[in-house]
Each structure stands twice: as structure tokens, then as C-alpha cells.
Symmetry: D2
Subunit: 304 residues, 4 copies
């Protein structure tokens, strides 16, 4: 169970079957530097470019199509003291007849205070002079090479993961992807220091980071959409437009998962889901929106 | 500040400018019986009919168009020991090509245990033999007469409220509606003993109840969509299809509210919302879907 | 088969079970004045108000719930020489990030020339100096009282018809509605001198008119959504948001109609529809969008 | 102006910057064989595979990013006597609660009669015994390499074209794509012998063909979405889900085009579009839906 320290020499703006940058074994851990959505690294040097330059791909030995790749996020360390957002809400999240009154979407700087575990606006308007945000790092874009030989822009997402911008992808979360290419070819990047639901300003607090993660290959385990878990919940993610369809994908994946691994037929699963499901609107900004379907482990029946 | 005990003699399947059943004063409280979505009362007698028969309307003295009616839910008492759901997920919440594999949507009975504060399936499948759900009562349908002389089916919802089926409308919550008719004309009903996000089986645990609520008229306070608060959060609700549009309405209402009452211009509001907003998918089943946009009070800037 | 000349004394801004303004027999014809969407009549006097004031309701003797009411539009006569539109496209029909560049939506006057059968801008910009539009009158809003005792704003539409703003509702068209109240209670108004698909500026050329129509009761004929025909085609209309759902309603209604009246089972109907269906985007502006599903009569199999 | 006869040796299931299979000059014509959506050629031999194997790419000399590639479809010759469809409507085009009653989607054979210019079911049900369809060939999938180094599945579509399944892409049509890679890299395939709007059974009549086309490079001409024209109309195409967004893209592209090339500012363009626009629902089945926004040339103002 090796631990690899990986300093990327190049970055990718598509997720696809690029040649691996590092080969690792099932069970290995990696500490990998990521750069921000516009390509700036820990030293604020531009080393990659828009959109969402990816670190990787990591080839995981033994992963073949038909397997599942489980990635556990062990830690997300901030690697610089600064991040940025866009001001103003995105035009697609407000009523069309109010769009014309939105402010121009300028780039805004934030200071990241790792000691205080808070993030604050560098130049706050009067009304936000004493307002700060808890540091709560998440990975905006991560996934594996898609099926069918596609190379897909890191602006969007699909069954293979991608730019889901879900605040639930934080330290302590394990997320699983369907393997479509030998080695899986795992990519990650686009860390946010904090973000609310929906990424409704079109950004989180975009920054660079050092991400610690561990991979595991689950043999012969099929799935359609990302599945995952954290300390309290299991979850699935659907990526599509409109939100209705993203929610349909996430719901269907959960229904199928409860049948496969939790012994719940469609009737039993419907009772549990109808009473306990929680939906997170991960992003409602990217070309594909992302919805997570969550179930508290405490709401699941105990297994006989 | 009187407390009225109201036993409805008739029920309404449209929300609109019906003649008031009870006149109450600003600040008064009411203890009102509600019947279940199919019209069965506390004694399980059929006294109303599908869909969602309403108790009310309550005419609040002094409320006139241009005011806001704030309704605080003080308590929701279960008035019988039984509720029902439909089994199987609703066809519109799963992928279209998996709809044909859904089970038939039969009516299922649940036992409500007020002492244990749990609800359980009367005839559980093997896999759910020891599985129960916390009792967490909510009001599925409530609102005031809409603008323009409309009488709208209690199956759906709009700016005036209606069948939003939001689990956030529970004891301790205050919800505010725009007054469009003299007296506001408040209706309520369709209590659920418990329900997850989205009402994805098409029902919560449908039952009768005794609801304790208090009304307050806020003079000259305009709004477009329902606004509310509970112990921890403020929230707005948008009702529309698809989810994207419901989310747009809720987001726009929050943006406007932060400007009107919290001193946050569109730039400052965008910072707060981008970092702290939470969306609840209230229902994704009814003719209009409902999305709540929530902000923790702790995430709001302190006022100077 | 009487012909009634009807001069409305009052107008309605909701479609619902209002008391009839005129009782007519099955097979009768009516010549009825309609006023424009903002309530101006043939003399440009304001006699009704926004939105879409309706002429009617007409009670058709013998029509009872479970019947179908067929209305044939015999002629739409322009009753004045002027109409109006809004300039600028509606914000919901362009990409959200281009909304801010749309022009202000001012009211614009048009001249209706019945001799030339053309309509022209009263104050045309240089680029449209010699540009005119064929006069092609249509009825924007028409329908019958909805089910369940609802009174619904004439801004929107549903299974009962309403503000569908479909340019296919012109002279020579027959449209059929499901009867939900005794007498059906037929309303009409909101005539446009011309309009493209989608009503994408939010208006057609809004004007007053004299509409000649004939009613027929079809006993015991159920349907869910409006059905109709003209010289060349049969059609169904679905009203909902988003367009996808409006299209689903129209498609499902056509599928069912082909089964009921044309002897085509779901497989045969799918062949005919897959090869010959045409969709019209009637409106993509109102609270409910409208999509027509059309089949040329020449594309239907001949009956054995 | 050479004419190239191209017999593809390999086929592509992604559209992207693959190495060119043929280099041609600006103004050249090509006669190229295409195979059907499942990879069967004129001899019904399987030479490619699902989905939509592409002929090409064709590198057009002189085309560079920032140019527009105009492709005129000169002729679409049927290269075999047989095609196939799926029976039954696609589950996403009917109401969710009617999906379970759809027939199984079996593969069905059709006979193509080039002399009679008709297509007929090989084994017709009784109700369709004498029913045939006009031969009206169209190209289901065509486009150029997308921007950003993406390789995208031929199941879907985007600004670069792709699997739009639009019956308007027939002989006599010119369609223009934005060039993102040197040479443009044009692909085509997935010819249908006939198809209605929307591709609502999930297929047209899928077959092989010989397509005659001519390319032209328009220097320094930017656009976002495909533009085109035929004998009577100009058109734009938007590709996205839901239909609303596809329509927004097509509408916005037309608005911009009228400004750039027809001298119509947003106000003038809104008048023309509001009165004359026609929308075609090209496909409502693929991962991205396609909507065409059309204007009759006769409805455009004459240029001063």
C-alpha cells in the first residue's frame, strides 16, 4: 500500500483515455497537487489553462472495464492563501425577466485562513465587513475515462464523473466510478475552498490544493452513475439537464443499488426512499447539472 | 389573542376566494382538524374527497391585498393511529426506460405510534421487518386565495402556496404568503406523518391531524413567492415545472428578500448565497414541483 | 341550426364555471365579438382588462361531463384597423447570458389592411420599411370550463384549452375539448392578426375581432387534451412546462386517439407517427407552453 | 473543383480530431459511402459498429479555426433496398404514467423502392397493409471536430453538429459549422430513408447510402451553432436538453445571424422572428435534443 507523491508536469482539459501520468496499485494512496480552475498553481503561476485543468490520469493496476474504481478522499490541504469567485448570480438560476438586473460577473479575491479555518472576502462591501465563511474544501472535478473512447471537456460531467462541483466530495468521502478503460484513468482537480449548493455564482472559491486520496478496485461491479458514501450517508449522483433528468438518474441509480447490495426489492426500496431520501443540488450551472440522491445509513434497514 | 377551536363542516378541493368558514383576528391562534388527502377524518370516516380536501378558509381581520400573511405552525398532532402511502416510485422520478419495471402503485397502510414517535409498515416485507421511520409531521398543502379570482385545484401550487408537500412545513416553522383577497383566506390540510424529499412515491404517510397555528398580518409587505423561517434558517419556496424553474423562482425570491430586509445588494447577496445556500427538493411529483432555497441564519452577516 | 349574434356585456379573466352568458343548441353557430388581450374593443375603447378578457361562456344544450365539445372556427373577421405587439424577444426564449442585451419590451402599433390582407408596422425602422406580414388571424385563447370547479387565469392553459396561442386555431379549424361542466361553457378571445411559432415576443398582433363559430356535441367521447383537425391534418395539443412535457402530452393524446378512432394499435401507431408526425411549438411564452402534434390525413392509412 | 469518390476503410464512433481520411480542397465535391447506424453497409455486411459509425473525416484545405465550413448536400442515393426501425414510441416522448403500456421496441425491416420513391414495412400489420411512406432521405449525423480537443460520441450532438437527426438535412440543403481544428474535419453518416419530426421511435428508417456533397470555406466567419439554408428557408439548429434550451440556442443563433448578415438590429429582428419563425423539433430522443429555428426567405425584408 504505497503512498505516492505526485507533482504534475502537465494538465488536461479533457477527461479521456490519455496516456497515464502515474501507475499505482490497488490500495495505494496518492498525495497530488491540483491547480485552480483557470490553471494557477500554489505559487499562483499559470501552469495550466481554463477550464478546470486536471491532474492525472492515474492508472490503477488491475482495474479493467466492468470493474468499479473506489476513490477515498483522505484530506484536501489548501496549498495557497488565496482563492477567487465570480460575483453576481449566474443568469440561468434566476427568473429570466430579472436577469437584466444582475451585476456584471467580475472576478473577486478571497483570503484563506487555514488556522482559523475561515475564508473571507479580500475587499468586502460594507454589508459583509465582518462576514466570513467556514473553510470546507471540496473537489469540483474528478472522474475516470468515459466509455467509447470519448475525450470530454472538463467543463461538463457524465456517468464517468467530471465537473460535478458537489460540496459533498470532501475529506472522508468515498466515490466510485465505472471503469471503462484499462487502469480506470482517474483525474482530479478544480478544488474549491468552500461552496454552497448549486454553484449558483458559477464558481466556488477556486484555489489550488494538495489532495490525499486512496484507490481501491472492486472487481466485476457494474454501475451506471457515480455512487459513494461518507460517515453518515450513502449517495448516488446523476449528471444531466434539466435538474429533473439529473434527479431521475440519481434516483434510478439508488433504486438499483438498494436492490443489488441492500436486499431491497423495488417495493421495499420505494418505502425507504420515499421516507428518507435527501436530494442535494450539487451544481445548477455547468453544461450538465448534478443532483445527489442521499440516504442516511441510519435510515436503512438492518440486514438480517 | 384568542385561540379558536375549529371543527370543519365542509372541505374544499380548490384554493380560491370561497366564503370564509371562520373569521379570526391578527395574532389569533387556531386549533383546526384536518383530514387526509383522500378525505378521511380522525375516525377514518370519509367526510371529504380527493384531492387534498382543505380546512378553512380562515379570514384574518385586517389583511388586505398588498399585505403578507405570516402563519406559524405551533404543533401538528396526529389525530389517528393510521396513515397510508402508495408503494413504488412515481414514474416521473426514474429514468424513462426503467419505468416499465416499477411495481404497481398499491395503497399501503402504516401504524403511527405517538408514544414511540415512530411510524411502521402494517405489513412489512421481510427486508423491512424491523424498519421504522421517525414521526415527523408536516403540512402538505396550505396557502391563501390566489390573485385574480382564481380557484385552483389543491393538487397543485403557485405563488399563493398550495400543494407544496414540503417536509419543512412542520411545527416551529413560520411561512408567509402574499395576500390577494380581503382576509387572506387561509387554507390547510393534507398532513403527512413523515416524508422524504421530493414526495417521490407520490405520497407522504397520509393522515388526519389537529394543527395548531397562529396568524400575523404584516402590513404593506409585498413578495412574490412564499417566504418563511424556522429555528435555524430562512427560506423561500418556488413552485413550477421543471425543477429548474422552481429553483429559479426560489432563488430570485431569496435574492430580492436579502435586498429588501437584510441590506444586501445583488453583489453582497450573491456572495452569501453562493457560499451558504441549501436547496431542498420539496416535491417532484405534483403538477408544479416545489424547491426551497434555504440560508442558515448563522451564515447571514450580522447587521450593523 | 340557429345563428346567434352575440355582443358581450362583460368579460372574464378566468375560465371556469361562470354563469352562462348565452345558451345555444348543439349545431348552432355564433357570431361573437372579441376584444384584445388588454381589453380594447373594435372602437378601441377599454371594456375589459388584462389578461386576455374572454367572450362567453356559451352554454351548449345537451353537453354533459363525459362528452366532447367540437368547435369549428368558420371565420375570423378583423373588427378594427389596428393591432399591437411587444418589441424584443421574450427573455425566456434566448440564452440566459444574452438576456441582458435584449431591447426594452415596448408596445408597438401595427396597421391591419383587410383589402391587401397584409399587416404592417406603423412606424417601421429603416430595415423594415417595405416589410409586411400576411394577415392570418388566429384565436389565442379558447376553451371550456375545467374539471374540478377550477377557475383558471386566461394567462395560462391546460387540458380544457385556454391561452394556447396557437396559430393553427384559424378559420377552417375544428378543435375539440373535454366537457367537464353542464353545457361545456365555451369561452374565446385574444385574437391575433398574425403570429409566428412560439409567440416568442410574448404577443401576436393583438386585436379585436368578430369570430364566427359552430358548436357540436359528441356524446360519450372522452379525451384528455384538445384534439382537432383542419383541411389537411389532424392534431392534438399538450399544454405544460417544459416543452418536453407539452410534447409528451400531445404525443400521448395522438397515440391514444389513433388507437380509439383509427384502428391503430400502439405498434402500428408508432410506425405512422415515427414517419409522419409534425410538431408545432404553439407558444413558448405563457405559464404553460403549448405543443401541437400533427399528422397529415394523407399520411394516415386508408381504413379497410 | 474536383469530385472525389470515397470508399471508407474505417469508421469512427466519436467526432473529434482524428487523422484525416481524405484531404480535399475548398469547393471540391465528394461522393462518399455511408453505413447504417449499426454498422451495416450497402451489402448488409457489418463493417462498423453502433452507434452511428461515421465516414470521414475530410480535411478541407484552408479551413482554420475561426472559419465556417459550408457543406451542401447535393444528393443522397440509397445504396441498398432495405432499412430498419424500432417499433414502439420511445419512453421519453410519452407521459410517464403511460410508459408501461408501450410495446417492446423490436427491430423492424422496411423495403426501399427507389423507382416508386416509397418505403414500406416488410411485414405490415393488417391496419397498415397498404400504407407506405414517401422516400425522403436525410443525414442523421454530420459535423466537424469540436473545439477543445474533445472526441464526442456520435450518439449525441453539440455546436459542432453531430447526431441531430434532422429531416431538414436533405438534398438541396446547405449546412454550416464552426471550424475548430485545421481542415475542419468533416464527418457524416447515419442516413435515414425517411423520418418524421422528433425521431420519436428512436430511429428513422436506418440504411446505408451514397452521399454527394460539396464543401466551401467561409473565411473569418464566426458562429456558435449550425446555420443553414435550403431553397425556401434559412435555419439555425440548437442541440441540448431540455427542448426549451435547444430552442433557446437556435433562437439566439438566429437573432445574432439576422444582426450580422441581414442588417436587422434586435428590435427589427424580433419583429421578423415573432411573425415568421417556424420551429422544427428535429429530434427529441438523443442525449441532446435538436430544435431548428427556420425563417422563410420570403418573410425576410428585402435589402436596401
Amino acid at each position: 500500500m504505497a503512498v505516492h507523491h505526485f507533482s504534475p508536469q502537465r494538465f488536461f482539459n479533457t477527461i479521456g483515455p490519455h496516456a497515464p501520468e502515474l501507475r499505482i496499485a490497488d490500495g495505494d494512496s496518492v498525495v497530488a497537487a491540483t491547480i485552480d480552475a483557470h490553471g494557477h498553481d500554489a505559487a499562483e503561476a499559470q501552469v495550466g489553462h481554463n477550464p478546470n485543468p486536471m491532474t492525472g490520469p492515474f492508472h490503477v493496476e488491475g482495474a479493467v472495464p466492468g470493474d468499479m474504481l473506489a476513490v477515498t478522499i483522505d484530506m484536501i490541504d489548501m496549498s495557497r492563501r488565496q482563492g477567487w469567485t465570480r460575483q453576481g448570480l449566474a443568469p440561468n438560476v434566476v427568473d429570466p425577466d430579472q436577469v437584466a438586473s444582475l451585476p456584471p460577473r467580475e472576478k473577486i479575491l478571497w483570503d484563506i485562513d487555514r488556522n482559523a479555518q475561515r475564508v473571507s472576502l479580500r475587499s468586502a462591501p460594507e454589508s459583509l465587513r465582518s462576514w466570513t465563511v467556514p473553510l470546507d474544501p471540496m473537489i469540483g472535478c474528478l472522474g475516470v475515462a468515459p466509455a467509447g473512447g470519448e475525450f470530454i471537456s472538463t467543463a461538463t460531467s457524465g456517468p464517468y464523473g467530471g465537473n460535478m462541483d458537489y460540496r459533498g466530495i470532501r475529506a472522508g468521502t468515498t466515490i466510485c466510478f465505472p471503469v471503462s478503460e484499462p487502469g480506470g484513468l482517474f483525474f482530479l482537480g478544480d478544488v474549491h475552498a468552500a461552496q454552497g449548493d448549486g454553484e449558483i455564482a458559477g464558481t466556488g472559491i477556486e484555489t489550488s490544493a494538495e489532495v490525499h486520496f486512496t484507490v481501491r478496485v472492486v472487481k466485476g461491479k457494474t454501475q451506471t452513475w457515480p455512487r459513494g458514501e461518507d460517515a453518515t450517508d450513502i449517495f448516488t449522483i446523476g449528471n444531466a439537464r434539466p435538474l429533473d433528468q439529473a434527479l431521475q438518474h440519481a434516483t434510478t441509480e439508488m433504486l438499483n443499488w438498494l436492490g443489488e447490495d441492500f436486499g431491497l426489492d423495488p417495493i421495499a426500496a420505494s418505502h425507504v426512499m420515499a421516507m428518507a431520501v435527501r436530494y442535494d443540488v450539487a451544481n445548477v450551472f455547468n453544461p450538465a447539472y448534478s443532483v445527489a440522491c442521499r440516504l442516511a445509513k441510519s435510515a436503512l434497514p438492518t440486514r438480517g
